[in-house]
Symmetry: C2
Subunit: 354 residues, 2 copies
């Protein structure tokens, strides 16, 4: 019988509120589709942990997590007590790097019941994927600080792109596009301004494109690409981007479809040599944390992505259908979407409708 071992890491703020709903739905799906879950909850990778232990995670975090099939993650960050760059580099960004989760995969899909800020768009009109490089690029810790505290102060930070790192995420993206009906890939670049790394990125896109003759492709500079997300979102099928550009596009995309509150993401190690991590796109949201009103759909949709990744496609589809059904009724939606449900109501409704 199918059994999955999963590390559950709620993190900070609303992470702690939406995670129980994600787990509730996972468990409902397990019952319904006949697989078993072995869930290990961890309190590290959170600012609470930092305040107690002076670090975001124990030194032996990898051993403590042990051999798992996936990580299910909430949100991390509590800027009032720990600066963001400390909390993030000490947790989420470590997972991505240490587990070599080199693809960050995020859907941009207009869902029923989610009011769209763009005029005249309806569910079905917008449906694409952002594939983000997730281990190198602009998110390097390489650089330094000279003459701190003086008028001559200078900071430098290196963007580092390797052929190894760029090619593998491009291949993933082209492969994904090749399996989709439209089979189209758009590359985010900025080779006119960022004139060393980005022309290299463009070259690698052309090189990998040659391996996928069935996929059409184009490229946009990131500035005009963000404009196109607003003006012509129906144009996109698979968008591939560097770490920073992918970060931007995968918040902007969900915003164009109404809210980042429902958007999920997979931090994927496609080679299967390490576990992948699934988390909502939203952060810990200190402003609404503790009130029980956060929208749990991002966490729940992440559960669906995780099950899909683990091979439970039917269960994943059932969760998606349940999300769509519950979002379609005002009583099912949380307040951010004009509904009357709190976090738990929404989670329960989705779990029950599976």
């Amino acid at each position: 019988s199918r059994r999955y071992s999963i590390a559950v890491i709620p993190g900070d703020g609303i992470g702690k509120e939406v995670m129980p709903e994600g787990v509730r739905v996972l468990e409902a799906a397990a019952r319904r589709f006949g697989f078993a879950l072995d869930l290990q909850w961890h309190d590290f990778a959170s600012c609470d942990y930092y305040l107690k232990h002076g670090e975001m995670m124990p030194q032996d975090w990898k051993a403590r997590i042990g051999k798992v099939d996936a990580l299910f993650f909430g949100a991390v960050g509590w800027p009032d007590t720990v600066p963001d760059h400390v909390s993030l580099w000490g947790s989420l960004l470590q997972f991505r790097r240490e587990y070599d989760q080199y693809v960050n995969l995020r859907p941009v899909r207009l869902m029923p019941g989610v009011p769209c800020p763009l005029a005249g768009r309806k569910p079905g009109d917008i449906d694409f994927w952002v594939v983000r490089e997730n281990t190198e690029g602009e998110y390097s810790a390489v650089g330094g600080h000279m003459f701190p505290g003086t008028e001559r102060e200078i900071v430098m930070q290196e963007t580092v792109m390797t052929r190894f790192g760029v090619d593998r995420v491009l291949r993933y993206a082209f492969d994904l596009a090749s399996k989709r009906e439209r089979g189209h890939l758009t590359s985010a670049t900025k080779s006119n301004g960022i004139a060393i790394t980005m022309p290299f990125w463009d070259q690698r896109v052309e090189a990998i494109a040659a391996e996928f003759p069935g996929v059409t492709h184009d490229k946009y500079h990131i500035d005009i690409l963000t404009a196109q997300f607003v003006l012509n979102p129906q144009r996109f099928d698979v968008v591939v981007a560097s770490n920073l550009f992918g970060d931007i596009l995968s918040d902007l995309g969900p915003a164009c479809t109404g809210t980042i509150g429902v958007a999920p993401s997979g931090n994927i190690n496609p080679d299967g040599t390490h576990p992948s991590l699934f988390e909502p796109v939203h952060g810990s949201a200190p402003d609404i944390a503790g009130k029980g009103i956060a929208n749990p759909v991002g966490q729940i949709w992440s559960a669906a992505m995780m099950l899909e990744h683990l091979g439970e496609a039917e269960a994943a589809a059932a969760i998606m259908a349940a999300i769509e059904a519950v979002l379609s009724t005002p009583a099912g939606r949380t307040g951010d979407l004009g509904g009357s449900a709190n976090t738990r109501d929404c989670g329960k409704a989705i779990a029950e409708s599976i």
Copy 2:
């Protein structure tokens, strides 16, 4: 009597088509408001020039331009013949750096007659400025390429921020905010991920904020900030950003108000030690170049910004009123805005209505 010496540089593609309309309107404003223009046209800073001379500009371009009050620029780039990073670094980016135009100032304003892609917004709802650092940051030419053509290939590019460079653009932005009714500044950051340069940017924002007690301020990470441009554009008053983030936000902002085809920008040397440069936000648009259908409003609005900068506030206001009047009628608008005018019709209508 007032006389302004202006270098006119049309550049490539639709730059050559919209520039005559920008000049037409400038000349109309000069007649009406009683100042004289001394216009010198230059054919360099274009890919045509490159094809003839093997460089984008002559070595002595600064001497050829000479002592001018401002530069009026069209658009540059023709990727079929010259790679973008060659054409841009050889022209526009040189002007910004050599003339130390350290502020790139771009309005985001919903105009009458321009269909807004965001649901339920009307002229007046969206009206803010993006202040972009324009000489350093992510647009450095510092870095390199190792093991080219091999599996081990690596490229690196340095983001360089100096206290000198950051503080002066922040002061400009805070000062601008202090003169506006709402007096609010938003800083674009990404200190959670870009963990060396961006925490420094945040620190300098706090330091300069202390000099402007009358201005309120907040900050957003660039990913969620792009989302807020779509979801809550009415929230912004002055947005200050690094070179790359400002580039992105100042295309996204105009897209949220309907089109980048009407958006202007000023590349400003606030110290007055060098001339400033005014140009539309749009590029050379090879896809529609040569057809006479490009929207000239970005170029014409840039003329208004230039006159404002030169102290001709009344003339600038008259151009803005003329733009609004002409955009309000289908016969005045170009095809991209659903109107029936071509480039010249639109330019003439604006010139005549001054």
